[in-house]
Amino acid sequence: MTATAHVEACLSRIAARDGEIAAFLHVDAEGARARASALDAQPDRSAPLHGLTIAVKDNIAVAGQPLTAGSRMLAGYMPPRDATVVARLLAAGAVLVGKTNMDEFGMGSSTELSGFGPTRNPLDVTRVPGGSSGGSAAAVAADMAWAALGTDTGGSIRQPAAFCGLAGLKPTYGRVSRSGVVAYASSLDQVGPLARTVRHVARVYAVIAGRDPLDATSTDEPVSAVTWRADLAGLRIGVAREHLAAAEGLDADVKQRMEAALDALRTRGAVIVPVSLPHTRHAIAAYYLVATAEASANLSRYDGLRYGQRAPNPQTLDALYTHSRADALGKEVQRRILLGTFALSAGFQDAFYQKACRVRRKIADDFTQAWQSCDLLLGPTSPVPPWRLGEKVADPLAMYLMDAFTVGPSLAGLPALAVPVGVDSQRLPIGAQLIGRAFDEATILAVGDVLQRAFDPTLEVA
């Protein structure tokens, strides 16, 4: 198939369904067509992503396309440069179709908290696609793009991948450049791919991973190629009791799918090892303190002065700041800025931000301990299947609790992969989460591939 034919197929899916789904904030139809025909005119088709369409989450800069991060604050903002990940996709021959919807600045788990309206789950339009990379997940699930880039701070790639029946990888912190990516919580944010199959995820990951001199936190740890496996003989897969047997609020169908996943892995030769991550119950509190503290500083630049929205006719500098931010930032964003500002304040910083940092180290230590007895961990991505639009949006705490299993690996900086493992009794997709050692994406990708094909034997391996 030519790049042009592939792009036209995606564009017609967008035209047919995106009015209802609202996966995209911006579609670059002309740019995608021009790029496709240029690629089709090249004799050399060897680039790793030659002619493949990719949707980009709207907190990642693509020069020439608007960048809003889902916020009305940035409506109309045009970034001057490509993010490093975007430059790498283009160098690898990809075609960028547009920018996808998201919870404002990544702050949400359902893509209902976008400043530009919610995205719907293509598998059941009454339900949310997950978040905050819900637009990216919906675009791939609706065949509007071959793959998508998301960002993950506390689960924002993995949970929407699980909700839309896709594979999604949050790489090890430091593995992928954050340059050109609108920051939510800098010590947690990572860019990663969402795609129909683990193998597709691995192809995009191989292109975007690696050191970037523009991001001081990116590392030069070598990116090892994935060795695809037929069986899992000799592998020890840990299951944390806090993620399954003793998990609170875990949906019965989700639990049943995890048991099925473990059976499938055992059948293929893996040894299942019970482990414990005792600080799991503190993970959400620690995450929401660390992430909001960093966010409170990261979002200070949206002050209405140099770019973004400015309140009309302010009488004083304080009024300019206050009204610009109060008018253009959503309620959840304001809530998290206030929470983070409080966590860092004099007299409270030790009890909140610094204590959260200490808990974060305990959580990382839990994983280090687990690696004594296993090579990777398996558990659920989300405690529940995708919920209905509006179901949780009025209750921020209920929404935060949905991140119970994803924030731990984020705080520890570990790679984690969402893998589809079938559907629940209502035919809603369920995703398992594989958590790997730092910089060992190769193992979770290889196991994830075996797991995904166990539940979908017809899956092509190309």
Binding site: P79, G180, S300
Partner: protein, 477 residues
């Protein structure tokens, strides 16, 4: 007033002499069209990330080594959060709990040691330009690398504060860390000042003074602030903890903000930057690479070259001046103790009279040494020397070395032979018989009067020592 002593500590910001900014590759320049020396990083655009400039670290480490600090193997960048239009990210990247250097010292002119608490790295903000039509922001300066050198409150007088600042400036300039230009703001100084009754150990309430852009304003502002605080206390009032600005035009400090208005900066480690690790082997190389520092240079000038303390301090105040001096006297060390005061008094007077900048002199030092040598050898009389220098420094048509050579050729030779001098001396003695009698009666100091009279007759172009010798022959015979 005399019942109080002042307690003073300085916070000095020095702009580092790097080619590019601290966290991006924009050029560091003075001026330029507003907002042209900028990029996504120093503009704080969404998604832009800071990457530390290695040269900044090298210079901060040199500053630390030059002031006897302990360079820390690990230091951490932090965000200092506040909103201001010239602060594009809404936070300044600085170092808080773990700065790059700790615990140094500065030795003042009188030998007193003033301790340095810490040196930390940070980025400068942009500039707000307040005008009639509102405030405009220029971000060319945003991201300029700075070190802040925080002194302990060990200083007790305005003069000690100036001595500390001069010595620190000399070290930074010698090390190539900073150009030391206070007027242009590449070296900025804030002072924390309090007073307490003499004999009391506890500190009084301190006031921070900003906006001092010369040594003189540092001295005047601190002296004024000490007086103001003494007046407040003697009126039975309490000192308010506040920040005050020095107004050089009105020669007074003015309140800027009080402690109650002080912000909570909510410092926390900047997650965009990894902790800064300084390797011991690299640090040893940096230590080995240090040039002679001003204190050692002053000691050498006094010990080996025989300069007095005043001339030694004066030379070392401007390291380029001392460098030029060292190059010039390398082959004539015996002249050093004459050449230094010659530069400090006669040459400096000419610069001030003709409003010329010092660096011109650095290039002209070989010519000046030649002239100084002639003068010391009696080949130029004092008056001839003064005329020569005046002619040369007033001549702006050619470079100073050429002007000096030209003036030298016009100066002619000194009159020292007896045949020429004797008739003049005889005439002077004949003209002042009364003074001759007084001299012979014991007023030997009148020899200077006779020399002066003879010199006047000879238009200043005579060898004073030859005249004195002849006079002695005639009068003491």
């Amino acid at each position: 007033m005399s019942a109080f002593e002042a307690v003073i500590g300085l916070e000095v910001h020095a702009q580092l002499l790097t080619r590019t900014k601290i966290f991006c590759s924009c050029a560091v320049t003075v001026g330029g069209e507003p907002n042209t020396r900028t990029c996504p990083v120093c503009l704080g655009l969404p998604g832009a990330l800071p990457v530390l400039n290695a040269e900044v670290v090298r210079l901060a480490v040199r500053a630390g080594l030059g002031t006897g600090c302990t360079v820390q193997s690990i230091s951490v960048f932090a965000r200092k959060n506040y909103f201001y239009p010239d602060l594009p990210k809404g936070y300044q990247i600085t170092q808080a709990e773990l700065p790059v250097c700790l615990d140094g010292q500065i030795v003042l002119d009188d030998g007193k040691v003033a301790r340095i608490q810490r040196i930390h790295l940070e980025e400068d903000a942009g500039k707000s330009i307040h005008g009639d039509s509102g405030t405009r922001v220029d971000l060319n300066r945003a991201g300029t690398p700075l070190v802040e050198i925080v002194g302990h409150p060990d200083l007790r007088t305005p003069d000690e504060a100036v001595s500390y600042l001069r010595e620190l400036r000399g070290i930074l300039v010698t090390l190539g860390v900073c150009d030391g230009n206070m007027e242009e703001g590449s070296l900025r100084c804030d002072a924390n000042v309090s007073i307490r009754p003499i004999g009391q150990d506890a500190f009084g309430t301190r006031v921070e003074i900003k906006n001092m852009n010369s040594f003189r304003s540092v001295r005047d502002a601190i002296a004024h602030e000490i007086g103001r605080q003494a007046d407040v206390i003697q009126d039975g009032q309490a000192i308010r903890q506040e920040t005050r600005l020095w107004n050089a035009d009105l020669a007074r400090t003015e309140s800027m903000r009080s402690k109650e208005e002080a912000a909570d900066y909510r410092y926390f480690p900047d997650p965009d930057l990894l902790p800064l690790h300084i390797d011991a082997a690299w640090l040893a190389l940096q230590r080995a690479d240090l040039p002679e520092l001003p204190a050692a240079r002053k000691a050498r000038y006094q010990g080996e070259l025989g300069l007095d303390a005043r001339a030694a301090n004066w030379l070392c105040e401007e390291p380029p001046r001392a460098d030029a001096f060292d190059r010039t006297i390398a082959d004539a060390p015996e002249l050093a103790s004459a050449f230094a005061p010659f530069l400090m008094t006669q040459v400096q007077a000419q610069l001030q009279r003709n409003d010329r900048p010092w660096p011109e002199v650095d290039a002209a030092m070989p010519a000046l040494l030649r002239i100084c040598r002639k003068w010391r050898a009696g080949q130029l009389a004092n008056k001839m020397l003064a005329d020569l220098l005046q002619t040369a420094f007033a001549d702006t048509a050619q470079p100073l070395p050429d002007a000096l050579a030209h003036a030298e050729s016009l100066a002619g030779a000194v009159v020292s032979d007896v045949a020429a001098l004797e008739p003049v001396i005889d005439a002077v003695l004949a003209k002042f018989p009364g003074e001759v009698a007084k001299y012979r009666a014991g007023q030997k100091q009148l020899v200077g009067f006779f020399v002066g009279q003879a010199m006047r007759q000879l238009a200043g172009k005579a060898d004073a020592q030859a005249i004195a010798a002849l006079l002695a022959d005639k009068l003491d015979a």
